[in-house]
């Protein structure tokens, strides 16, 4: 048993019998899987398999018609829901990044990442406005936390740059930084490496593994690059046409005939 396998803990997220339809289009049908604490869990599948829909269900953007989501939140208590909503998900410690970037383009890198601390800022708004007393102390504390993330992601040089001006790869890092600033218990990454070159992908892989190692953050990610998925994930869920067709370690999934058929087609 390697070091990594040993740290993987209990189940913190379980989805049961999730079905989601948009009008007549079935995006997800009876999908069920679980995520264990500290693991890197990948969701893979061909285009249109329902991967992003699955993340949106977990994070509360979509409301499934059927199903149950059970999550052990930051407070350690387990709670079950018919559906999430984004606000509750954020409060319980679920953070996410987006496939098509959804950053606050007019704001600086620093401000973007600071928004991730917003839920934790409690001090009086009038004191905040004049930077006084406890509000100043609180601001500094959050600022220090954010500076750590900026160091970690190696984007110190762009701290004050409006995000809209950064190249794509760096914007992806800021997106990750904003999610990390929430100190999430569960981090959802929607195609963190889409559209990146090899070098950028390597950087991003390193960041994801470091986040998982250093902060113990549980990660659910969607990715198309099979090499990457097999390298960094502990367990993989395979979706096809909204149904789960495989679930297991990378080696198990790779050997599964159903998965191979979905990806390569079957000979008739």
């Amino acid at each position: 048993m390697t070091n990594r396998e040993r740290r993987i803990g209990e189940v913190i997220l379980r989805v049961d019998d999730i079905s989601l339809a948009f009008g007549g289009v079935k995006a997800l049908t009876d999908v069920a899987f679980d995520v264990r604490e500290h693991e890197v869990r990948a969701i893979i599948g061909p285009n249109g398999a329902g991967k992003s829909s699955m993340l949106n269900v977990i994070n509360g953007v979509y409301t499934p018609q059927v199903g149950r989501i059970t999550f052990r939140g930051t407070d350690g208590r387990q709670a079950a829901f018919d559906h999430m909503n984004p606000r509750r998900a954020a409060e319980m410690g679920i953070a996410r990044t987006f496939q098509s970037l959804a950053l606050f383009k007019g704001m600086s890198v620093l401000d973007n990442i600071m928004t991730g601390r917003n839920l934790r800022m409690k001090s009086n708004i009038l004191l905040q406005a004049v930077r006084f007393g406890p509000a100043l102390a609180e601001e500094l504390e959050h600022r220090a936390f954010v500076e750590n993330i900026i160091d970690f992601l190696e984007i110190q040089a762009y701290r004050k740059t409006p995000v809209g001006r950064l190249p794509y790869g760096l914007q992806k890092r800021v997106d990750l930084g904003r999610a990390l600033a929430m100190q999430p218990r569960l981090l959802l990454l929607d195609e963190p490496m889409a559209g990146m070159n090899v070098e950028e992908k390597e950087d991003m892989c390193r960041f994801i593994l470091d986040v998982n190692d250093e902060f113990g953050t549980t990660i659910v990610l969607i990715e198309h690059d099979m090499g990457v998925v097999m390298d960094i994930s502990d367990r993989v869920v395979v979706l096809d046409y909204g149904r789960k067709i495989g679930d297991g370690t990378p080696d198990e999934v790779r050997a599964s005939e159903a998965v191979i058929a979905a990806y390569l087609g079957v000979a008739h």
Partner: protein, 347 residues
């Protein structure tokens, strides 16, 4: 050079505005003292346009709603303030004008917050993700509703807001210009109040976590939700802030001209301002208001007589259309306004 070639229309327009500003002096149409007086008068009404435009910009930025009701909110808030300031001494026997004005202001402010909450609760919440036109029509409905309700509750006469400021003009800079400059002290105080309000808003937006959340929502709804920013609360806050801005604008304007129905029409003057400054820019609203305010005063005072002489016209009325012609020129050469965001859609 490529830039210059591409941007010549807007550069021409800006140079045109600047030339228009100095022309009266350069052509000897006015004495320096009179020029400064007209300039100050223009800046003063410009400040008030800016305040109304600011209300538009705040709500548009945060929710993408073009709030047609901003002018009606100005009228409603001013009516509330005027009538409350009248009723409070009668009901409580408080003599001091300062105290009753303050109390009236605070109660009117609370009313605008309640109004914001109701708008979110009863209207906006149910129209999430609808087309812009639907939301515009909804605000049009709100406009007529609060115009009417305001009169039902507060009455439909002309009311006075008396801030106790001296209305007599004072003569300043007598040594500097021949004949000095006449300045209304009330105008100075009004400009000061408006300036403080803008400063307070800037600090609120830039320094507080709520301000950061507001800017975040303005940029991207989905991402803002994902980090736990509640959209509904944010909408209540921006409408409340826009309501308070409307109250301040209504108070200043009402103390100058009296509180009457025509106050709600200044919203129409704020439209050219937001077109010129850009619908998404706070500095744009302020600068746009000042340009329009000064521009229309200059057009009326200096351009008017020339037109009358040259074409043998009746004269007057330039103030009414000048702002719109300027806005139209901006729409043609720079639809996003001076500071607005240019939308580049990926295809």
């Amino acid at each position: 050079m490529g830039n210059l070639k591409k941007n010549w229309p807007i550069i021409t327009l800006i140079v045109g505005i600047l030339v228009g500003m100095v022309a009266p002096l350069a052509l000897g149409l006015s004495t320096p003292g009179f020029y400064v007086e007209v300039l100050l008068g223009g800046l003063m009404s410009g400040v008030l346009y800016s305040l109304v435009a600011l209300g538009f910009v705040l709500i548009f930025k945060a929710s993408g709603v073009f709030n047609f009701a901003q002018g009606a909110m100005v009228l409603f808030a001013a009516l509330a303030m005027a009538r409350l300031a009248e009723w409070i001494p009668q009901l409580t026997g408080i003599e001091s004008r300062l105290v009753s004005n303050m109390a009236a202001f605070l109660i009117a402010m609370a009313l605008m917050v309640v109004f914001a909450w109701l708008v979110e609760r009863l209207v906006l919440r149910h129209l999430v993700n609808q087309e812009g036109v639907v939301l515009l029509m909804a605000t049009l409905g709100i406009t007529y509703f609060i115009d009417g309700v305001g009169q039902t509750v507060w009455g439909s006469d002309i009311y006075e807001i008396n801030l106790g400021l001296p209305k007599t003009p004072t003569l300043v800079a007598d040594g500097l210009f021949q004949g000095g400059i006449l300045i209304n002290q009330e105008d100075l105080v009004a400009a000061l109040i408006a300036g403080l309000l803008v400063l307070a808003l800037a600090m609120f937006f830039q320094k507080t976590s709520t301000g950061r959340a507001l800017r975040a929502v303005a940029d991207d709804h989905q991402a803002a939700q994902s980090i736990g920013i509640p959209l509904n609360t944010i909408w209540v806050i921006v409408w409340a802030v826009a309501g308070i801005v409307a109250l301040v604008a209504g108070m200043i304007w009402g103390s100058k001209l009296g509180v009457q129905f025509s106050l709600s029409l200044i919203a129409l003057k704020a439209l050219p301002v937001v077109i010129l400054g850009g619908l998404t820019s706070v500095p744009g609203a302020i600068l746009g208001g000042l340009i329009i305010g000064v521009g229309e005063k200059f057009a009326e005072v200096f351009l008017g007589p020339i037109l009358v002489r040259t074409f043998d016209l009746a004269g007057g009325g330039i103030e009414n259309w000048f702002a719109y012609v300027l806005a139209l020129a901006f729409l043609l050469v720079r639809p996003e306004g001076l500071f607005g965001e240019k939308h580049i859609d990926r295809v």
